[in-house]
Amino acid sequence: MTSLWPRIEPLLAQVTKPARYIGGELGARRPMHAPGRVAWLLIYPDTYEIGLPNQGLQILYEILNERGDAVAERAYAPWTDMEAAMRAASVPLFSLESSLAAGEFDVLAFNLSAELTYTNVLNLVDLAGVPVRGADRDASHPLVVAGGHCAFNPEPLADFVDAFVLGDGEEAVGDLTEVIGAWGATGGESRGDLLRTLAMVPGVYVPSCYEPGYQGGRLTGVTPRAPGVPERVEKRTIADLGEWPYPKQQLVPLIEVVHDRLNVEVFRGCTRGCRFCQAGMITRPVRERPAAQVNEMVRDGLDRTGYDEVTLTSLSSADFSGIGDVVSTVINDPECSGQVSVSLPSLRVDAFTVGLAAEIQKVRRTGLTFAPEGGTWRMRQVINKLIREEDLYAAVDAAFSQGWRRVKLYFLIGLPTETDEDVLGITRLAGACAEIGRRYHHNVTVTASVGGFVPKAHTPFQWFGQNTMEELRRKVGLLKDAARGTRGLTLRWHDPEATAVEGLVSRGDRRMGAVIEHVWRHGGTFQEWSEYFDLGLWTNALDAAGLDFVDSVYRHRDEHEVLPWDHVSAGLHRDFLWQDFQEALAEHGLEDCRWTPCYDCGACTGLGVEHMVASAVPPAGGSQGTGQDLVSGGTVPVRFLETVGASMSLGSTRGRAR
């Protein structure tokens, strides 16, 4: 194993942001490679600045390097100028720590956080000097592994990835290391043997062990090719987040990256039940970290890194039982002496949360962000984001009155049952927020950031036909017209073309692999970057594969249609999801099951784990499930199903007596 650094350094003078390629972060390891140690290269398929902060990758990096039988290094997607320089100089993808060629590692492990990075995955495998298709690899090649949220529909990458890991990776990477190590110790000659053994590991999906069937252009199922391989792969779930206080040594980069601050995960999973949200569905149940451990991780982390900002991460951090305690501990710590700020991603929409934000952002009061997601109460009932207009106005009022001048609101368009009135509700709401702001300040900005909705696997909306790009464009047009005359309102929107392609890849079956490969072979990398996104490449690729947007993206699926991800499980019952979809269409909201009876979504019971929440009562002043009287939320009251006795059928166990 030889360092490629002498060949890499001369390239750095030719490229932008050369420090992306030098490593040297605080917290970076220089692991000792040795026979008997499985060498992992953990790869984030986007730029260094986007990938470095990824906590999942950092957690696995530490866990693997703590093991006696593994070493882990990192790599990120080189920007196009560096890739060109590398290819011209025949320099392969290399690891940041030891500058080793990627092809020398035993495992290339990709983090899949966004579907539009898939062409980068292929590009990086190719840049590593490894055949992009799994079928073309032999025992001399590294194993290509992938995990992360997008792995919950693995099929579009099934031809390129040898094994997917579903769910939490903390324990699974150890199991994989042992299997790969044992295979290597016995000579490591048959790749097929290795793959078959991996397919038996819980949470691991080996696509080459499964055969997709089609009839009349439709998928009929993905079934095991060999005996002993599970028909359905269940995700991995760690029961107690407190046992995994990682990352212990968060990486501090030499250059500026996104989320450039200390991150401490306060809980994993979310049961708010927003129906569009894949993350909330696939990471259940809720597992909180003990508040004392959070405090310790914050204090140690700030000391060690020198950061002056900490983010308490989760899918809805204001819901953390210990939030008040943790926040006051940090800001009252004399060591921090008023120079450390705390931030919470995705604030809940209520005055309590704003009060909390006011307390923690004493230091740097920039902007506040809320995510009502829907423009009308009706729409928000459909998506189960049960924020009343009054809640939003009270929160925004609290924000402006306490000194903020910029408020950002996140919305989705293209949601099920959406009418133009719902769409225009977005500018109406945002405009009203700006008006509230003007009571306090001369100049206020309310930014409405509008994304096109992409239905995702393992959510109640997985059957929904995505809005066409033309329809999304029309809706953006409505908003642009409405926003034009509204003072203090700035409208931002996501490119409907990119939304359509995201939909294509999100719910595609194995045939989508050919489309991804076609786009990559025609130069389509960095598709999540607007300067490189190219719809034409995708349309050509669809034509070549005999597929189209209408059938793959825009079409409503019916209840019994086989979905490409039916053979992998996030623990959720399919009929729970269908039932929840029907309730959505009927405009019924659903409370958070952390503090209310179980709806039997399947996550806790099926996985044999439970919610781990420190507080038996919901946080003060919240929204759904937090003591709010939902009936007064709007003209259409939320209804709950009738209770029908103790032994209930699956559909009705979700009802709740009122």
Binding site: A19, T305, Y307, Q339
Partner: protein
């Protein structure tokens, strides 16, 4: 009180930018628990003032930084406390208390000495290029400014050039380049000389005062350097 620090930037870390270096210092000072003064207001910032920017990719053994402190810290304490908190290749080599009223680095520094490797040429070839440059009336170079190509004359800023020998990889150029109205980059000098640019290292920054040259702070690992001590 204010402390002036001299530090290095050598090795891989040379590929970071001037801004990156500023952020490294902010974090390192916090990790070392230095009582750095912060600005007042909504967005308090640590009061650090850096001298001339070092072009990304260049090394230096003569970078400077002035730090405002709320409480006195012995300059000799600074290097051992802060250097371990800085990335590999960035090390404090001297520190001293600044007299109140001392001009800022930006105001005072007027030239820098550079050692530049010129790959694939011999000493004779480099000496010839130097000879041409030194007798020329002007040394026009093309550079991009705000998206437009402009032509600059480098000659007034080229204060001294010499060849310091050569080895198998190429020749060694020593240059003193002016910093006013703007700092001349080694890459621009290479362009003007018509040679390739290898590794460039800033070895000194100079302040002109009363007809002689001074370093803002003499390199002295003991940390007892006296400012304005005559350096040459």
């Amino acid at each position: 009180m204010k402390v002036r620090v001299r530090f290095t930037k050598v090795g891989r870390v040379r590929w970071t930018s001037h801004r990156d270096v500023a952020r490294m210092w902010e974090r390192a000072l916090r990790r070392a628990r230095m009582p750095v003064s912060y600005t007042a207001g909504f967005t308090p910032r640590p009061q650090l003032s850096f001298g001339l920017a070092l072009p990304t990719g260049c090394e230096s053994v003569a970078e400077y930084l002035d730090i405002a402190l709320d409480e006195p810290v012995a300059p000799s304490e600074l290097a051992p406390r802060v250097s371990p908190m800085l990335p590999e290749g960035v090390d404090v080599v001297a520190a001293a208390v600044l007299e109140p009223g001392t001009n800022s680095l930006q105001e005072d520094v007027s030239s820098c000495t550079w050692e530049i490797r010129v790959p694939r040429v011999g000493a004779g070839e480099l000496e010839a290029a130097i000879g041409h440059a030194l007798v020329a009336d002007s040394l026009p170079i093309r550079r991009e400014r705000k998206g437009r190509d402009v032509v600059d004359d480098l000659r007034p800023s080229v204060l001294a050039l010499s060849c310091a020998g050569c080895d198998a990889d190429g020749a060694h150029l020593v240059a003193e380049l002016g910093t006013r109205p703007r700092g001349v980059r080694p890459s621009e000098l290479a362009q003007a000389l018509g040679v390739e640019l290898g590794l460039a290292r800033r070895t000194c920054q100079w302040i002109e005062r009363d007809g002689s040259r001074w370093e803002p702070l003499r390199a002295d690992p003991a940390g007892t350097a006296v400012i304005w001590e005559r350096a040459s």
